[in-house]
């Protein structure tokens, strides 16, 4: 455990020096504030408190931003060590590859958690500032923060796996961007296209829930929207959230990080310095 912590402290310090901490928090705060400002119009008639509405919009933001930040922080984790030539020496130390990855994960999760808390917190302050009744939505804000960390863990693990498979950081960066595009953007577009062609048939009722749960980003969205009962406030794919029991999206959200990290460790074990 002390070796994991030592690695985490070292990685956090490097991220601080490389301005990753400020970039991640800056991006989150900026986007959250823009959303809070833009989303301040349609309240009142929805019948829910202002913060819950903000959380619903933040969910849509986090689906894109959290995986992106996680992949940006993780693609260099192994390939960068290989390129700098620091990996052979590290691997002769009495520390296991699992411990190295967990240390990096801990540091990167701390940064993501910090960025999410500050970003969402800023948006929440705006919401509460204009509507004191918005304090009712604090539970959904808290849920959004920890589920963002879980979503981040999934994409961090995926990023480490890609970083181990690629020989160079540039290759790992390309793979990371491809993964982000496919998992976060194209996947949803494909589902939307299928829903439209299906016209409420068997695909929409049978396959769609499974397809949503199979993608960590969609599971995250479904979980937050259905938990906040804010399905009505969100359009598009999120509208399907009502059909999926909460425990299923929660399970997907919990199992994905484990699967991604297991994949990362398996890929890292294959790296010969």
């Amino acid at each position: 455990m002390s070796r994991i912590l030592a690695t985490a402290v070292c990685e956090f310090r490097i991220a601080l020096r490389n301005r990753w901490v400020s970039i991640a928090t800056g991006m989150m705060v900026l986007f959250a504030l823009v959303l809070a400002a833009a989303g301040s119009a349609p309240t009142g008639d929805v019948g829910v408190d202002r913060l819950s509405v903000t959380v619903a919009s933040l969910t849509s933001l986090a689906v894109y931003l959290v995986p992106l930040l996680a992949l940006l922080m993780s693609f260099d984790a192994v390939a960068g060590e290989v390129e700098r030539g620091t990996l052979p020496l590290l691997l002769t130390y009495p520390v296991s590859r699992l411990q190295i990855l967990l240390g990096k994960l801990l540091a990167h999760l701390a940064i993501l958690g910090l960025a999410a808390a500050l970003g969402y917190g800023a948006a929440a302050l705006v919401a509460v500032g204009s509507d004191p009744g918005a304090l009712k939505g604090l539970a959904s804000l808290w849920r959004l923060i920890w589920s963002s960390v879980l979503l981040g863990a999934t994409f961090l693990g995926a990023g480490y796996a890609l970083s181990s498979m690629a020989k160079r950081p540039s290759g790992a960066a390309g793979l990371a961007i491809a993964l982000w595009l496919v998992a976060v953007v194209l996947y949803d577009l494909a589902l939307l296209a299928l829903i439209v062609t299906d016209g409420g048939g068997a695909f929409t009722t049978q396959a769609l829930p499974v397809a949503l749960l199979a993608n960590p980003a969609d599971a995250f969205r479904v979980f937050n929207l259905s938990a906040a009962e804010a399905v009505a406030a969100a359009g598009g794919i999120g509208g399907a959230a009502g059909a999926i029991p909460l425990w299923q999206s929660a399970a997907s959200l919990l199992l994905w990080p484990l699967a991604a990290i297991a994949l990362a460790v398996a890929a890292f074990r294959k790296v010969t310095p």
């Binding site: 070796r3 030539g85 020496l89 002769t92 130390y93 009495p94």
Partner: protein, 308 residues
Amino acid sequence: MTPTLTISRLTKAFPGSAGRQRIQAVEALKQVSLTLEAGKRAALLGHNGAGKSTMMKIVLGLIPFDSGEVSVCGAHPGSPAARTRVAYLPENVAFHPALTGEEQLRHYLSLRGEDPRQAMELLARVGLTPAARRRIGTYSKGMRQRVGLAQTLIGRPRLLVLDEPTSGLDPVSRRDFYDLLDGLAAEGTAILLSSHVLTEVEARTDRILILSGGELVAEGTLADLRARAALPVSLLVRPAPGYAARLAAAFPEGSQDGDGLLRLACRQAEKLPLLARITMLGSAVADLDVIPPSLEDIYSHFSRRDGQ
């Protein structure tokens, strides 16, 4: 006492591939055997590609091997037990440029389960105190090498594996470095190092191992290798003015250059009789130099014999 490092009949081949074309496998090590006892310093010599780094990486457990046996402090190379007892200095050691020397060492100390507060003391031992709080990105190659050296001193390792440890160090730092090694060896650490600089290896190691084309072609103390190579001794005889022709006539086996300087070569056993013949010429000889075979000559002799 069991040796710190035992290697027997170690063989390693790299699967050859150039792009998509598979070419013949490269045999990096062939049936190499050696033992290294506690407190002994062994120098590994060889051309680039002779298999030095490959052997070191196998000892460290970084890469697998094909056949043979390797035992590091009684454990399998790369096992947690072996890793706690072995320290490594890679060739061209690198660190994260954003960390300071002190932070990097604190991290390495934590990974070995030692108190991170020893970092400054370790940096002082390699003469890096003034730069300890600067980022490693600003360090020169020699300074990075010292950080690398400092991390090998953590926690009294039983075996030190040093790949080209003195590259990038100036002559004074090199001497300090070997002084450090002497201290460690005296405490019982076994040291395996590779080097291109033969003259420094000569004085500061107990044993020399010469690798060539993946095979261990010679092993022993410098005196052993010198005797076994039995290379000729050179004698340079400078004639007194006007005596060049007489000197050449007396030693028809020698070769003479334009100035009249006569070069003779003989086996070790023939050296004294030859010297006697030269001194008999009396005032015809102005000066005389005896040049024993250099370490470079001995090294070339062994590494060429079975090599490429």
